[in-house]
């Protein structure tokens, strides 16, 4: 009679995992018992993992939204002629250097549409000075730079600014922040600070609705400045206005 050759543990596990054949085809009782023992070990490990090793995961809504926003900014891979064109542009810009900007006067509406907190006019008007000095965390600031494609942001060049200022009910949210340059444009963060102060004063004096102030600043703060200060270009004193600290 031909002697029976038992399956090795590795072979039994492959059968169990569906990586080789079907375990139903196995007729040897000894092999089946051994397989049951291996299966018991698998079950014990799964329980160990669930009890001891797995961590509770935070909600995925925020990360999923962030990824969607970042994907919108990503450009699909280009063909070689695209890089040839890019090379030409870079070469020309080196030959004729002009003013280069990495961030503009207005935020990218797709990344920074503006976000507000649940707050009433009365609350806005009694906000403390600390609210005025509120700055986003470094992690949040880095997230903003990343979303805007700014690598290694230079200290004192940008202010990671709230589009809708906290003093006007703006939220501490990445959708309400953008890297505003200090000096690249006449429409810089110092000028915007002056507008924020004016709008808050108007809201608190009852001359303006809070939601309207928020809306105007979110849609186009430059246009809001021109409208409220009745000027096409920033007032000279505002260009020197220093309220917020730069990002460092």
């Amino acid at each position: 009679m031909k002697s029976h050759k038992h399956f090795t543990d590795e072979e039994l596990l492959c059968l169990l995992d569906g990586e080789a054949g079907s375990p139903e085809a196995m007729h040897c009782w000894q092999c089946r018992v051994r397989m049951a023992e291996l299966e018991k070990s698998v079950a014990a490990f799964v329980h160990l993992k669930q009890d001891r090793l797995d961590v509770a995961l935070p909600s995925g809504d925020g990360p999923a939204s962030l990824l969607r926003a970042r994907l919108k900014l990503e450009k699909p891979a280009r063909h070689y002629w695209h890089w040839v064109a890019v090379g030409l542009v870079v070469a020309l810009s080196l030959l004729w250097p002009g003013r280069r900007t990495v961030a503009s006067d207005l935020p990218d509406n797709r990344i920074t549409p503006g976000a507000t907190r649940l707050i009433a006019r009365e609350q806005v008007c009694v906000l403390s000075a600390s609210e005025d000095d509120r700055k986003p965390s470094k992690a949040l600031a880095m997230q903003v730079f990343e979303l805007y494609g700014i690598r290694n942001p230079q200290p004192r060049r940008f202010e990671v600014d709230y589009l809708i200022a906290p003093t006007l009910g703006g939220a501490d949210d990445v959708r309400n922040l953008w890297p505003q340059p200090y000096s690249d444009s006449i429409w810089n963060s110092r000028v915007k600070d002056a507008l924020e102060d004016l709008l808050r004063a108007k809201v608190c004096q009852g001359e303006m609705d809070l939601a309207v102030a928020q809306s105007e600043i979110a849609r186009n703060w430059v246009a809001a400045y021109q409208k409220h200060f009745r000027t096409a270009v920033p007032i000279e004193a505002h260009a020197l206005f220093v309220k917020d600290k730069p990002w460092e």
């Binding site: 990586e19 961590v55 995925g60 990824l67 797709r110």
Partner: protein
């Protein structure tokens, strides 16, 4: 009162409507599908949750470029785990050693105190063995526990199929439940 209520807002101002590309849509869907298992795996490698979330974003942005270039799309789960694994190990090198695993808490209401003590002892024993395993072996088992097939584990850890099956069998024998 109504005047105050009319001032209350809590919303995000509307964005410029722009439809995501089909590849971006696909990557977003894969993110929803794989986020949990990949995140758990990266945390089990010793990364803080925030770092794991950061890396996960990088992984899926890389996936977007991978798919945009028309590169192979078979075994995408293995691809995601492999890139996540490599980036996680790289990030871990720059971090301080993590705290040891928390104390065991068993809350199975079906166990009486004696059984609970025995179960706790058994898990402590297994945990000790598991912690003493080489990292590659631990990764193999954790990936299998996350539902990866052998070829996916092999792709993630850059191993042969034979090494994967041999490792899994060896680890399970070491973890084998002791008869009570």
């Amino acid at each position: 009162m109504s005047a105050i209520r009319s001032q209350v807002v809590d919303w995000v101002w509307p964005q410029t409507a722009e439809k995501a590309s089909p590849v971006a849509e696909e990557v977003s869907q894969l993110f929803e599908e794989f986020r949990g298992p990949v995140l758990r795996y990266m945390v089990s490698l010793g990364l803080p949750m925030q770092d794991a979330e950061d890396i996960l974003q990088e992984v899926f942005l890389s996936l977007f470029h991978h798919l945009s270039k028309g590169k192979p799309r078979d075994n995408l789960r293995g691809w995601v785990f492999r890139v996540g694994h490599n980036l996680a190990l790289k990030r871990r090198q720059s971090l301080k050693p993590t705290d040891p695993l928390p104390e065991l808490t068993l809350t199975d209401p079906g166990l009486n105190p004696e059984e609970e003590t025995a179960a706790r002892r058994e898990q402590a024993r297994m945990l000790k063995i598991f912690a003493a395993l080489p990292e590659r072996d631990r990764c193999c088992v954790l990936l299998r526990a996350e539902g990866l097939r052998y070829r996916e584990i092999a792709a993630t850890l850059n191993l042969s199929l034979g090494t994967v099956s041999g490792t899994l069998a060896r680890v399970l024998i070491r973890l084998q439940v002791e008869p009570r």
